[in-house]
């Protein structure tokens, strides 16, 4: 008996050290964590995915603030300068005569009195040797930026006029961080505007093909039978086609020949809309298969039977009870789809069948650059690097989401 008692005494675990938990902490522990919070916490563990997410946010901010950046940098994205094509990065270029004269003409029109004063001053100080006083400002505008600024300093005019003149003189020279392209346009600005187009197309295509896939997958999975087999045969057939050849044939068609399209699409941004439409046409299939699969299993669950018994309509069951359960895997698919769409957009634009110039996109910038690889290799490298960065970020985020949502997959 004694031995047994001894044993039982040994078996009693030592008293746990008194841990001091405040009431708040206890409440925190007892509260059920929401699904989004769990997913977020899991997602944060995937370092590459977090970096990817920040990269995407950065590019989205750059894309949204493109006009603002244009103002801050003082470089016009559409200004062409045929005398300074294919300039190396970090080069400073003196602006063309037309740009200078336009600036001066605008100034004279806006402040005729100030301009007249400056003109007489310029002649008096003998900075310019114009025969007519009206030409004085124009002659001044021929100077290099530094000389023009120096002249402004010695003029005997008030500060407002001086700062105005300095503003004009600033336009005499533009600084190009990434050099200029085949028409003398600033590469950085075009890349920034290209970010808008390329990422816009990618996100738009991924979202709308998710919508199409959701619709078709839901109908096929929910109703089953003939509709299911018909829709799935079409999906399989489209899925088995080689993507690029099909996209090229479809992208090459002339929409003007279709009468009904002509009335829908107005001019401007036509090539963008057409591209989004074409890419959507061939990217909804994986999503519809995924949605169909989930809905097939959901259909057998008790809560669906319950809502059916309560008399819910098919529409309510599908949208209110089934879609929330499909969202998580769909999110992964959409994220991966953005990267893929950006790649396809770039490929088509690279072949000259996607976004049409002068609208810049990363793909058609590459298309333009490949003609002069020998002279300006830099032009070809930059857009591709951006495509790589953005696509890899989306792929990593998709991977991270996958891990966070579905812990059953093999974790790294």
């Amino acid at each position: 008996m004694e031995t047994i008692e001894n044993n039982t005494q040994k078996a009693i675990p030592p008293q746990p050290a008194q841990r001091s938990l405040s009431k708040n902490q206890i409440a925190e522990l007892e509260k059920v964590q929401s699904l989004t919070k769990i997913i977020y916490a899991q997602f944060k563990e995937h370092k590459a995915a977090v970096i990817g997410a920040y990269t995407i946010i950065f590019f989205v901010i750059v894309a949204l603030s493109a006009p603002l950046l244009e103002k801050v940098l003082g470089v016009n994205s559409e200004n062409q300068n045929v005398f300074h094509r294919y300039k190396a990065p970090f080069s400073t270029i003196s602006a063309g005569i037309d740009t200078r004269e336009t600036a001066v003409r605008n100034y004279i029109q806006e402040n005729p009195e100030d301009a007249a004063l400056v003109q007489t001053e310029l002649l008096k100080e003998e900075f310019v040797a114009s025969t007519r006083p009206e030409d004085a400002l124009y002659d001044w505008s021929r100077y290099e930026k530094r000389k023009a600024l120096a002249a402004v300093r010695y003029l005997d005019v008030n500060n407002k006029i001086k700062s105005d003149l300095r503003g004009i003189a600033k336009k005499f020279e533009t600084f190009h961080v990434f050099g200029t392209d085949e028409l003398g346009r600033d590469v950085l600005m075009r890349l920034i505007y290209g970010t808008r187009v390329s990422m816009g197309v990618g996100i738009l295509v991924a979202l709308s093909s998710a919508l199409i896939g959701l619709l078709i997958g839901a109908i096929a999975g929910y109703y089953g039978g003939f509709i299911d087999s018909l829709l799935m045969r079409v999906t399989d057939a489209l899925l088995s086609l080689p993507t690029i050849p099909v996209l090229i044939v479809v992208a090459a068609i002339d929409l003007q020949k279709l009468p009904f399209v002509n009335s829908i699409i107005s001019t401007g941004g036509e090539s963008i809309l057409k591209l989004v439409f074409i890419l959507c046409l061939f990217s909804w299939m994986p999503i519809s298969r995924l949605v169909r699969g989930s809905i097939l299993t959901l259909r057998e669950r008790e809560f669906i039977l319950a809502s059916k018994t309560l008399g819910a309509s098919d529409f309510t069951i599908i949208t209110r009870h089934m879609f929330p359960n499909v969202i998580a895997p769909l999110l992964v698919s959409v994220t991966l789809g953005v990267g893929e769409s950006i790649l396809f957009e770039a490929a088509l634009s690279f072949l000259g069948l996607g976004i049409q110039p002068p609208t810049p996109s990363w793909g058609n910038m590459l298309f333009n650059a490949q003609e002069l690889i020998y002279q300006a290799p830099f032009l070809a490298i930059l857009p591709g690097l951006l495509i790589l960065f953005v696509t890899i970020s989306f792929n990593y985020v998709g991977d991270g989401l996958q891990d966070a949502i579905d812990p059953k997959t093999i974790r790294r």
Binding site: I248, A252, I253, L351, I381, T391, N395, D399
Partner: protein, 323 residues
């Protein structure tokens, strides 16, 4: 089993048939009109002549009638003439198909040789530094635009170092004395296209090999094999890899489609005379006949590969049941 094979074959044929009709319709929507292109160099032509030309070539018929006569010609082996080169399409297709075949197969073999060892290496040491680096590279491989990689390769190897040609498929005006010389010369032109075409499949294959190998190595029979004292080599290759191979074969067979479709861009970039480039240039040059035939050939080849993949799956894994 036989039922399944027959159904798959019928399905594939049906898709090809429908696609040929759709493709025929799409060609009608391409910019440019065949008769207008024909008469563009002849200013003396009248409206009546145009009408006569249209009815002569059957262009005034409804689309389905034109399609039927075109399809009839195809079945009889009449592929028509190329508008740009003025030679029969059959003469262009043969060599182009051969070139594309060489490029695709070489790229597939190359990517398998690189990807499978990498994937296995990662699966054997998960979470190691090697695993991390390979994972990064496979992600980059999946995300990199292959045409851009091609441009970068051209810049490095053809422009800067000038050791490899930037495009083409053989040195012009070469008369080969031996087969070896021919192989060496043509191989030199293949290196860059193969590299740029393989990068994506290398990424995909190595990730897939890793995950299926990890899955295989977690099986109980691996522990048994280790417990009975088999060497690590035998356990990895005979017990682990053989089981990881099953899903891998399907993925490889299915990715022939994406290699074939990627070959179009690679061929256009490197001016390599394959089917993909033929399709691209003929569409750009309004050579409808060539475009249609090369499109149908590309699609048919990919569909046949998919069919083969489906059938192969059953041979490799007897557990798969056909319904």
């Amino acid at each position: 089993m036989l039922n399944f094979i027959l159904r798959r074959i019928v399905q594939t044929l049906l898709v090809i048939l429908i696609l040929s009709y759709v493709c025929f319709g799409l060609m009608n929507l391409m910019p440019g009109d065949p008769v207008e292109m024909m008469i563009s160099s002849n200013p003396k032509i009248t409206a009546a002549d145009v009408e006569r030309l249209r009815s002569f070539y059957g262009l005034d018929q409804p689309m389905y009638k034109r399609y039927l006569s075109w399809a009839g010609d195809i079945v009889q082996g009449e592929l028509g003439y190329s508008r740009t080169y003025r030679i029969p399409v059959t003469e262009m297709m043969g060599p182009a198909l051969g070139h594309t075949f060489i490029l695709s197969v070489a790229s597939l073999v190359f990517s398998l040789i690189i990807a499978i060892p990498l994937g296995i290496l990662c699966a054997l040491k998960p979470n190691s530094k090697v695993d991390y680096v390979v994972n990064l590279f496979s992600f980059a491989g999946i995300s990199v635009p292959s045409f851009w990689l091609g441009i970068v390769l051209i810049i490095i190897f053809a422009v800067n170092f000038q050791i490899l040609p930037a495009g083409g498929y053989q040195t012009t005006g070469m008369a080969y004395e031996t087969y070896w010389a021919e192989f060496l010369d043509k191989g030199k032109y293949l290196i860059l296209p193969i590299l740029s075409l393989s990068i994506q499949s290398i990424g995909r294959f190595s990730r897939f090999t890793r995950s299926s190998m990890l899955e295989a190595m977690r099986n109980d029979f691996i522990r048994t094999a280790r417990a009975k004292g088999l060497t690590a080599q035998v356990v990895i290759w005979k017990h682990g890899f053989r089981n990881a191979l099953i899903p891998l074969v399907t993925i490889v067979a299915l990715s022939v489609s994406s290699i074939f479709s990627g070959a179009l861009i690679t061929e256009s970039l490197f001016a390599y005379p394959g089917v993909g480039r033929l399709l691209y240039t003929s569409i750009m040059g309004n050579d409808f006949n060539v475009a249609m035939i090369s499109f149908m050939i590309s699609v048919t080849m990919v569909l046949l590969m998919n069919l083969a993949a489906d059938l192969l799956y059953g041979v490799i894994d007897p557990r798969v049941s056909y319904k």
